[in-house]
Symmetry: C2
Subunit: 317 residues, 2 copies
Amino acid sequence: MEFFNKVGKAALGSRLRLMTAAITDDASKIYELYGVEFVPKWFPVFYTLAEEREITITEIALEIGHSQPSVSKIMRELIAAGLVEEIEKADDKRKNNIILTPKGVAISQVFKHQLQDIDVAIEEMILQSKHNLWAALEEWEFLLSQKSLLKRVSEQKKKRESKDVEITAYKPQYKQAFKELNVEWISKYFEMEEADYKALDNPEDYILNKGGKILVALYDNEPVGVCALIKMNDSEYDFEMAKMAVSPKAQGKNIGYLLGKEILKTAKEMGAKKVYLESNTILKPAINLYYKLGFEKVFGLSTPYKRCNIQMELIIE
Amino acid sequence: MEFFNKVGKAALGSRLRLMTAAITDDASKIYELYGVEFVPKWFPVFYTLAEEREITITEIALEIGHSQPSVSKIMRELIAAGLVEEIEKADDKRKNNIILTPKGVAISQVFKHQLQDIDVAIEEMILQSKHNLWAALEEWEFLLSQKSLLKRVSEQKKKRESKDVEITAYKPQYKQAFKELNVEWISKYFEMEEADYKALDNPEDYILNKGGKILVALYDNEPVGVCALIKMNDSEYDFEMAKMAVSPKAQGKNIGYLLGKEILKTAKEMGAKKVYLESNTILKPAINLYYKLGFEKVFGLSTPYKRCNIQMELIIE
DNA sequence: TACATTTACATAACTAGTTATATAATTAAT
DNA sequence: ATTAATTATATAACTAGTTATGTAAATGTA
């Protein structure tokens, strides 16, 4: 299958599906070989039933990793085939009490040999191969239970995309973006306040000329994120990190983190000892980001913003 | 999943199916992550189409290892989704000439990144694991193409069962079996002849007392196969191997081979230099067995049996 | 004790594939 | 130039699973 090599690892699913189909096809021929009238899909259910006498349909489903309706259907097929039967029992009437018929017991005897033969045959394949498929499946089941493929891919996506993000200093051409990106989220969650208009309409006067800084994140040369570092003259803090905004279109590219890191680096270069910020706890991803950047909660400072209900600081080491 | 460990390698199929389901589930979420409206099952078809512009449905099916109807269905779904379209072309009217729409081209651009991210994510899993699932699948595809699982299991079955077969010397209690097993196949394919009745009704007089031997194969202590070594006084051969019969119920346990090997060993012990046999070419499995035992075709000896149309000999080294 | 919740199972409708078979277009053979 | 065989695709019916949902029995709780 040329295809697999061309597509690369992303074809893992397809490759697995084909291998599964090949094995399942042979499985039904193997039952024929042993002269038992048996459908491969019955096997996990039948086997579990033969091993553990008292077991409910739901428990079987859990044990073999199928859904309950699947086991339910198979069970009725097994009954129709005369391999198992329901027995009357006075206890819990929701459960169906199922045991093997003599015919079922006979088949389970044949299976003992059959399973042994398959085991040896597969064991031999494992010996003949450099890469142990059985062990690999076991290992990958574990790896995927630790962290799903989705999560792994998503992390990789973020990593790759953040490489394409460029953090650059504010230039007059980004004035509009600086305002729009901020208005976008502020007016979505709260209401624009007097202090917002001042800073967003005149970043030069209110931020830059007072010794502050503004950074812009570019993606494909488009400004998609902004963040300001504002000088706080009459406070115990040197700077306030504020007006951080990332376009919803560019979310999931780690842009907030990259902007924050760069702002803190700038603060350090400018000799800051402590950086302050204000936010609101309904902005959960933002708060998480601040923690990730190293900010910690502080209490009781005055603020001009109504929307502020949490204040944080970071001490630069 | 306790189940897999209890059942052993025979659960390979089930284990593969679950892994496939887990990967496929995540696959559809991954498409969501990249913001493309795309169903995972479309992928192999769409990808092949994006790579090779001029390709028929049947060729795609072959390339990706699906059935033609499966590709046919997916193709119509892709058309309905506006990702590909049929174009008019004057050549072969059975083929449908399909190309990507602009929307399809856009999605195939997104896929370039997506595939790369998945590749890296899976590559990382491979690095984290001791057993390389991707390499194992590739290797097992090859191993199974060389010899199917069915064939491997069938060989193992034969091997195991032949261990339970006991080859023993003729005793009077096997007289009936000696006759019945032979009558069974002779009358099925040919007609019983005078010479048959003589040997089968009086093995003591016609075989044993003349310096011959009869061996019996027992399975579960039941006689299921017989074979005679008859002294040939007035011939260039020392012995004839004859009256070999195996019960149809006990076929596939290598019994013919075991009987033949043991008969030849006996012949050698008795000082034979050449062993002779007669048969008929319609009995293909038997002829194959004789070749396997080392017999070779010879011509032009006289025979009392009408059914004989092939004569063979083996020179004992 | 009555009512809400949970449990055990069944049923229906869907999914992603399959095989078997039909049909139209093309190619090969007489 | 027919006719037969082959090729390319479509369609129908099936398979082995799934999710969503319904129902009766058992359990928990005010």
